[in-house]
Amino acid sequence: MSIRRELNAVVTICARDVLRYLRDWKNSLLFSFFFPIAFLGILGGTIGQNLSGGLGYDYMQFALLGMVANLLVQSTMMGVTSLIEERESGFTQEVFVSPVSRYSILFGKIVGGSLASVVSLVALFIVAFATGIPLSLAGIGRILLVTPVVFLSGGALGVLLSGVFSSSPKAVDRATIMVMFPQMFLSGALIPVKNSTGVLDVLVHLMPATYLVDLLRGVFYQGTPVYGQVVLYNPMFDLMISLALAILFLVAGSYLFVRSERNR
């Protein structure tokens, strides 16, 4: 009975996030298309034109997969951190005084954020098709198979930030940006990092998104001639590292969140 109630609460919190996303469809669609066009079309395009000669593979396809991982991580992470941003006002107050476990609230936010991110994923594929980036259906299928890991990792990062900065909506907002940009540029999403050395190489390996981006590329490029040029590690290794980090972030973040939420 109790588990059923908690599951119902997870579905409710998740449904609300999806409904809000759909209700605000104009802004949601605008942002879903703005980022792929801005980063893939403009930034990716510029880099691609200047690098493509020496790379030996399709840069735009390479960047698209990086964008998929980054966008899903970011939108799921921000879906969870909205819990802190709205805490002092709005519906979140109501959620916190309901007879629902804090863990269910966090889980509901992760699932809700993930489902809302699917719209961004679809938008990204539409931009890819429109700009002529080659994507096979089998490749898309393999990407979709591992997206739950990406959602989980993004949600876990959101939970960690919510736990560490639970007392300040502004701080969690800033922290989200501070986490987002290094991930985007150091994870190899847009800029190849295979030949990075020194401090940059260390930073690349410290970014959780590095393993997610590599996981997506690993499954997409499986069996293709360029696999060795674009993929850093075996997908299984990326999967293990990503899951381990997600579990670590979830455990630490949930603990901090539940504790600090009441111990002000």
């Binding site: 609460a9 449904a15 709005g90 005084v97 009441r262 111990n263 002000r264």
Partner: protein, 314 residues
């Protein structure tokens, strides 16, 4: 229904306690008003009682459940109307209610009103009719006025049939008409449902109808008792009298302990004597007479100011 013993809350990095050893009980079905100036510890106390803030020490039980051991049961047995509306403005009024009942496990979540069970649909329409927002129940909350939002919050807080309703400044920012209509409905449910009401408010007149008032300042209790007890204890009733021949009037009233005021008129406090007793002693023609009945607001100001004066003196 609510038992609070030696409650202390000290925020991190704060030298003084926001709540400093509060103890009180609220009986089942009681209308309990919790008053105090800004920074008195009202919101801190209500946050602890509604499980959103941890206490530093003390014992609290709500509806028979210990706050530390059975927080979920406590949440299930209370309804809350927050100081700031806790509604999702992007959703319709009905959707806000539907999310509430699903979170409280009363009904499983369904993606539309039509898919919800019949009892839910009937209850929503019935309550919306009672509070007067039936026409707008399927409209987005962002189109609602402040009064309509409060009414919606009341409907929502009653859907899970709470034993205790916490109202944290429920009429803040509402116009006089909305305030009156809200209170008419709150009094009705208090009487009909025998629900325990715990109210914090800045509008002292809203506490006039409370069964009991508790006044706090700087986290400590200054007074606990009925509104009548508070009025009589703090300011009492008095007569203001004046006459052309003040000396004669004063000598006639010597036995009643007249207090001369700055303008020369006389103030006569009475608790055992009636104004009729006093007036019967007077032969001197009066030029002025006024009977003063204390208001709760005067008593409140008196009480809080005295507390301040004592603190400043010490």
């Amino acid at each position: 229904m609510i038992h609070v013993q030696d409650l202390v809350k000290r925020y991190r990095h704060s030298e003084t306690a926001a709540v400093d050893g509060l103890s009180f009980d609220v009986r089942p079905g009681e209308f309990f008003a919790f008053l105090g100036p800004n920074g008195a510890g009202k919101t801190t106390t209500i946050s602890i009682l509604t499980t959103t803030l941890a206490k530093s020490s003390g014992t609290v039980s709500i509806g028979g459940y210990d706050l530390d051991q059975r927080a979920k049961d406590v949440r299930q047995s209370i309804g809350i109307i927050f100081q700031n509306p806790s509604l999702d403005l992007n959703l319709t009024a009905e959707e806000n209610i539907r999310f509430h009942v699903s979170l409280y496990g009363i009904y499983g979540y369904r993606p539309s009103y039509g898919m919800m069970p019949q009892p839910y649909r009937e209850k929503v329409l019935e309550l919306a009719e009672i509070v007067g927002i039936a026409q707008d129940i399927f409209k987005p909350v962002k189109t609602f006025s402040g009064g309509m939002k409060r009414k919606l919050e009341i409907i929502r807080s009653l859907m899970h049939k709470p034993k205790i309703l916490f109202l944290d400044e429920p009429t803040l920012g509402l116009d006089a008409v909305s305030r009156r209509s809200l209170w008419t409905y709150l009094q009705k449910i208090h009487e009909e449902e025998k629900m325990t009401i715990f109210l914090t408010t800045h509008y002292i007149e809203e506490a006039e109808k409370a069964d009991r008032i508790c006044i706090v300042n700087h986290g400590r209790m200054l007074f606990s008792g009925s509104p009548e007890a508070m009025k009589s204890l703090m300011v009492g009733k008095y007569l203001l009298l004046d006459a052309e021949d003040r000396d004669s009037l004063r000598s006639e009233l010597t036995g009643f302990g007249p207090e001369p005021l700055e303008d020369g008129s006389l103030k006569l406090r009475f608790s055992e004597n009636t104004p009729q007793n006093i007036l019967a002693q007077i032969k001197t023609p009066l030029s002025f007479m006024r009977l003063h009945e204390p208001t709760l607001e005067e008593a409140y100001i008196d009480l809080v100011s005295n507390g301040k004066d004592e603190e400043e003196a010490s």
